[in-house]
Symmetry: C2
Subunit: 329 residues, 2 copies
Amino acid sequence: MVSIKDVAKEAGVAISTVSKVLNNYPNVSADTKKKVYEVVDRLGFVPNAVAATLSSKKAGRVALLVKLNIKTQAIDEIDMQYISGAIRKAQELQLDVVTIFESMVDGMSLEEMTNYFASQSISGIIIYGLTKGDKVIHKLIDSGRFKIVVVDAPMVNENTSSVSIDHEKAQYEVANKTITENKCKSILYIAGMNDGYVTEWRLKGMRRLAEDKGIKLLVKNGEFSELKARNLTMKYAKNKGAVVCASDLMAIGAMKALIEMDIFRPVCGFDGIILMGYVGKQMNTVRQDFANVSASAMEELNRLFNGGVGQQVVLPHTLVRMKYEDIIC
Amino acid sequence: MVSIKDVAKEAGVAISTVSKVLNNYPNVSADTKKKVYEVVDRLGFVPNAVAATLSSKKAGRVALLVKLNIKTQAIDEIDMQYISGAIRKAQELQLDVVTIFESMVDGMSLEEMTNYFASQSISGIIIYGLTKGDKVIHKLIDSGRFKIVVVDAPMVNENTSSVSIDHEKAQYEVANKTITENKCKSILYIAGMNDGYVTEWRLKGMRRLAEDKGIKLLVKNGEFSELKARNLTMKYAKNKGAVVCASDLMAIGAMKALIEMDIFRPVCGFDGIILMGYVGKQMNTVRQDFANVSASAMEELNRLFNGGVGQQVVLPHTLVRMKYEDIIC
DNA sequence: TTGTATGCGTTATCAG
DNA sequence: CTGATAACGCATACAA
């Protein structure tokens, strides 16, 4: 392997000089800069990232903490986009990334988890899908030991930023569009998990809509389960004007139930997953660009690395109707 | 961070002794072993993986080379299972993993790619979905510079193993089951990409079936595209007894086309993706356990690391009918 | 069986 | 502006 030492020797300068050139240190003459770059090019030298993170005290390695939903595999689509969006941006920013599934750190104490991340030279973490029940992870955030960006959760402090779309507004809009188009007077709202932050925000949007428009709102907890949504629809949809779901998967479950019941009710979902296009009927939904959300999270983490202080980042969303013709290719 | 030095001091032994205990070296007294482990536990020490790979010359870091299909996002399901299966097993085997999307190394020369991997201290690579057109990657395999496991490709040499199900047999079986159940005399076979190894194997299975059963076989190239499969079905399915597709996605496209044409033909797919359950009609398909395939690949790579020589590993598959009731949850 | 010393490829701190 | 040199945390050949 061609190392920095080879480059130094070849260019006739010291190792430290090469390092300075490569890391854009201020005090290097244009002359030596050019000389070094020329050799770097010629030898095809690529700095060893492992050695760099070991040596450097400045941040670099990022962990993606993903909650892999083992049961509902259709949701993979979202995680995959999170991961690929983050990795792409990380490469652009020259950050090293490791993917960690939550099951790997499950049951660890705060200390164990801290050591686990530290042992991998991880200095920044992006957390996807945090729920209120994740006690240890909350402690990890509070500890301030790592720079952290949470996606779809409200934590913000010195070392922690939050990135997400405006769920409340999005839920309001998609439901409003749906009931307006269909002139509905009442809604069955199938919400997500109780301890999810997005659940709370989306529910708030629904309540605001109900108040604004003076319509009756029945809220049931579907736990993001397609089956639960199906059953709730069977039980409660009959005398409601529309079924609004807090996720696409639940919307699909609701839709299939309605078809079986042989009644029509407008249904809308949330997320804009591709799967929506396969179920045969069109639905309104909120489209989040997951890859972009994740890329923004990485950018935000990089900002924290560079001394920035935690903040809340709100990303745009769009309303769409998913249909088969749009997604086939 | 608690380091090996802290453990050594606390246990009253030398750093090297701690290292030996942790790495299961033979010549350590049971007494010091226990002493060290006790301290390790108490301090919650986790060895720094970065320092370890830098120091050690023996292999450790593994790259997952994933071809992310940007257009057909439903396929994410497969990649996600590949990734999670590999990462899980890697943790079990104490291997560090980095995920690399093919787009990141696209256009690199052999030398650049070698340097790229080397710069990350990568010594082993698992390659998913290699096609004949990936010239540089083929050279990388031939170079012998890295231990490599290819999933669904036939390369085997000193440092390279191959892992996959028996695609030929699987294709034979699923098609045979389908035509037997429906007493078909002719088949429209929609194959995959021309330069894919699996395409070749599956096609071979079909040809053998056609010969064995004396049925007419029309082969068309669907390029794993749902849309292509749809169009081919519209054009050629009418006077064929069945439509056999080399992927589930194409099977879905074919099925939707048939419904639009308002004719019935049995359709079968390949892969057993969850999406199959959502399209409304049941189909025969081959179920591969992608996570398991990937885990096996990781195991195989570990074997190569430990001095094993490359070999071909064939994993089992099953025939299934995917229906909505089975996948909803 | 245990400890010492050196190196892995960088970065960072000081002298010069 | 440039160059020695000491870390970073661990593995390992070698000495004791």
